[in-house]
Each structure stands twice: as C-alpha cells, then as structure tokens.
Amino acid sequence: MSSASGHDPFERRLEARNRLDYCIQCGRCTSACPLALQIEWSPRRKLDEERLMGDDNLDNEAGAPVWTCLACYSCHESCEQRVHTAGIIRHIRQRVFEEGGAPEGVRKAAELFARTGMAFPVTGLTRKMRAELGLGDVPTTAADPAAMEEVRTLLAALGYTVPGEAGAPGKGAGG
C-alpha cells in the first residue's frame, strides 16, 4: 500500500503493525462489527479497497462511514489472521484528516485539543462541581500554561494543524 507521508517512523511502524497484507478477505471482521448491522459499511470491503487503492481512495472517504467506526476493536479481536483492522481504519482516517476531509465534529475536537491539550473543555460548571466535591483545580494542560506551551511546541514540531481552520491551509497533522 502506498501512502503520501509514509516515511516517518511513526507511520512506518503503524503500517507494519497493521498487517494489512495478511488479510484473506474471510469477512469475520464484518460479521463481528456492530456498525455493519446498522449502516452500509463493511470492514472487510474497506480493507480490500485500502489494499487495492490506498491513497487513491481517500477522496471518497471524506464524511464517509469510515468516520462512524466505533473503534470498539470487535474486528481486531475476531481476526484469525491478526490483522489490526481497527488500526487500518484509523490510518485511513489519519490520512483523510490531513487532506481536510474529516467531519466537522472531528475537526472541532482537534481544534479544542490543539488549543487546550484536552478533549473536553473545562467550564464554569466543572469548577463549581470540583469545588463542591473538595477537589483541586484540574491538574492538566487546561490549568497549567507551562505544560500547555510544551504541548504546543511538540504539536508545532509535528506540523499538527487542523485543516479547515483559519490560517491552516494545505496539509494537516503529519509526522
């Protein structure tokens, strides 16, 4: 499989670990997938498309069911060939995100993460609840400017941007 940014060690390791080439298209993953019961979606077919088309298929994945995958690992756990199916689906998402094709919900989450280092915002209600419970301030980047600066430095060095954001043209999060 080819990949536009497949030369950094993170992505190289990811591809080796995922074992896409071991897939025999038996379909156990799709049998085990809770999402396949609900929407038009087949992990087995997605692995086949990934192997045959790789990056050439990414344009078709923008806003597509690949983003509805629950990452529950039912496919992964059911695979007799030890193919990391959920990891391969995630790898497709990573490349679609880079190209700006992720749904708005994902881009918003990435934007909050890049700004605060967190996946959920610390709000006035959070502080009120924590005070009532006798808990201190949230001990994370949300309340620690020096730690947040470290995270910002690391993300910048990795070229992490959220495509679609103002001032973030071109390629997104990469290695």
Partner: protein, 287 residues
C-alpha cells in the same frame, strides 16, 4: 503485586465533566491504603477514537510525554479511564520494545527537555482494585450491596486491543463482576456483555449512538439487573446521561441506575451519597 503509591493520570473526561467519579476513586483508594499523587501537567492521551484519528505521531509523542511525567515522579501511572489506559498502555508497551520508535519520540521530546525511558508501568484502576485482593476489599465492606443485581459494562478499551492487555481475561473481562461480588452484590450476564455503548460516535452520527445505547439497555433490562456498573467514564456518560432519551426505544419502564466502579465500592464501604456527589447523576441512585 501492587505498589504503595501511584501517579494518578487524570485524562480529560473525568476531571472536566464528571469529577464526582474522581472523588469516588480517591475515597476508595484512601480506604484501601493506596497513596495517589495527582500527576500534574498532563495532556489528553490523544484518545483512541477521535483524536488518534488525526495523527499517529501526536499520539505517540504526547503519550510518551504523559508517561515520562510519571517516570520523573518515579511512580507507576494509574489511569481511571478505559480510553486513556488502552492508549497509554499500548504506547508504553510499543515504545519499550521498539528502539527506533523510542529514539524518534525522544528526538521530539528533547525540544521540551523531556525523555521517555520506559521505566514505569501503566495501570488501570480496576486491575489495581482486583490486585488488592478479595480479603482486603471484602474487609472494608460496611454496607453489603445485597439488594443489587449488577450488570457489568466493561467497555471496549478496558482490554482491547488484547495484544497489549495485561488482563488475563482480556477476551471476556470479568473484573467488574468480581468486584461487585466482593461488594456483596449479585451479578448477571446479558446478551451483549462486551458490546460497545456507542458514545464515541455521538458527534458523528447520533442515530447510531442511540441505537447502540438502546440495544444495550434492552439486553441489560432483560437480564433482570437493578444496577449497571462500569469502569469506563465514556460508557458512564452514555449510559447515565443518555439513558432517559432512549427509555421508550429500549422498552424500559424506568431507568436503571449507573455506577462507576469506584462509586459502587465507595457505597459498599459506607460513604454516603452526598459525599460522593451522586446528585450529579442523571439517573437517580437510591440506596
């Protein structure tokens, strides 16, 4: 083997949206004589569903940074969240065994003066609780939960991907049932015991999230469970905060209370509902 002290990695969901779960965890660990120190300056684990889908490199580097913070304190890292645990444990196992990847990560971390060494373990709260042992846990029970019939929702990422899991029963984790029985409760099985709760795709497709939730609740209700117990904050939020919206669809006459695993133990250990902040649950919990 358990350590006497851990660095508590907070993650995002619990400290920001459900700090009452953190309260229960701290009370229970204090009762058990386990010392915890808040691990400071951590970021998101780069969650395994949404944010890891934006960058594998950010996942590896920030995961390594979070673990390095515990290493600097000389303490094993303790997580009270399935997603954080799965993520940081996978990163830790992977980095410990892969010199090239470790060097790549450390080349990045050196810019902020940190190094990942691979010297501490990553632990999940329920693994620690189980390792404390039946005798120790039962010995602290002042209010046996004899009227409770517990359905466990272990959550996907407690033990998956099982390749990296330290849990001996990774394919079908029983740790919640075990802890419930030590707290004096009965436990039941139901048809979807290891099924995903659906929370993680709520922002992408709410109808899938609601279908997953109502299917799960219908199976739990059919088992005769009086309470649902989970070690996963994401499942907790879905099952507690989302339940009222799908009651009719799930065929439930009344909602089933949902407890985080340390809330269940804290009640059994004699803590009261006010101390635990159980008023913040959307489905009321009555003793």
């Amino acid at each position: 083997m358990t350590a006497s002290k851990y660095a508590l990695y907070h993650g995002c969901l619990i400290p920001a949206r459900a700090p009452f779960l953190e309260k229960a965890t701290k009370l229970v660990l204090a009762d058990l004589g386990v010392e915890v120190e808040d691990l400071k300056g951590t970021s998101c684990c780069v969650d395994p569903i949404t944010l890891r889908s934006t960058s594998e490199a950010a996942w590896a580097v920030l995961g390594a940074r979070n673990i390095a913070l515990a290493e600097e304190r000389g303490l094993p890292l303790l997580s009270q969240c399935n997603g954080c645990f799965s993520n940081l444990n996978e990163a830790n196992v992977m980095l410990q065994g892969d010199v090239e990847l470790r060097e790549a990560v450390n080349a990045r971390l050196s810019a902020v003066g940190r190094t990942y060494k691979g010297t501490v373990g990553v632990h999940h709260l329920v693994g620690l609780l189980r390792d404390m042992g039946e005798q120790k846990v039962r010995g602290l029970v002042k209010r046996p939960l004899a009227a409770w019939t517990v359905a466990s929702e272990p959550g996907c990422h407690l033990t998956r991907p099982s390749d990296y899991s330290p849990f001996p029963d990774a394919r079908y984790p029983r740790v919640v049932e075990q802890l419930a029985s030590w707290a004096g409760a009965r436990t039941v099985e139901y048809s979807d015991t290891i099924m995903c709760c659906g929370n993680v795709v709520r922002a992408i497709d709410a109808s899938v999230a609601d279908t997953m939730l109502s299917d799960l609740l219908r199976a739990i209700a059919a088992s005769g469970a009086t309470h649902i117990v989970t070690p996963c904050p994401t499942c907790f939020v879905q099952l507690d905060m989302g339940q009222k919206d799908v009651l009719g669809r799930a065929g439930l006459a009344k909602p089933i209370p949902v407890l985080f695993v340390t809330e269940m133990l804290a009640l059994a250990f004699g803590h009261d509902t006010a101390e635990l902040g159980l008023k913040y649950h959307r489905v009321p919990v009555e003793l």
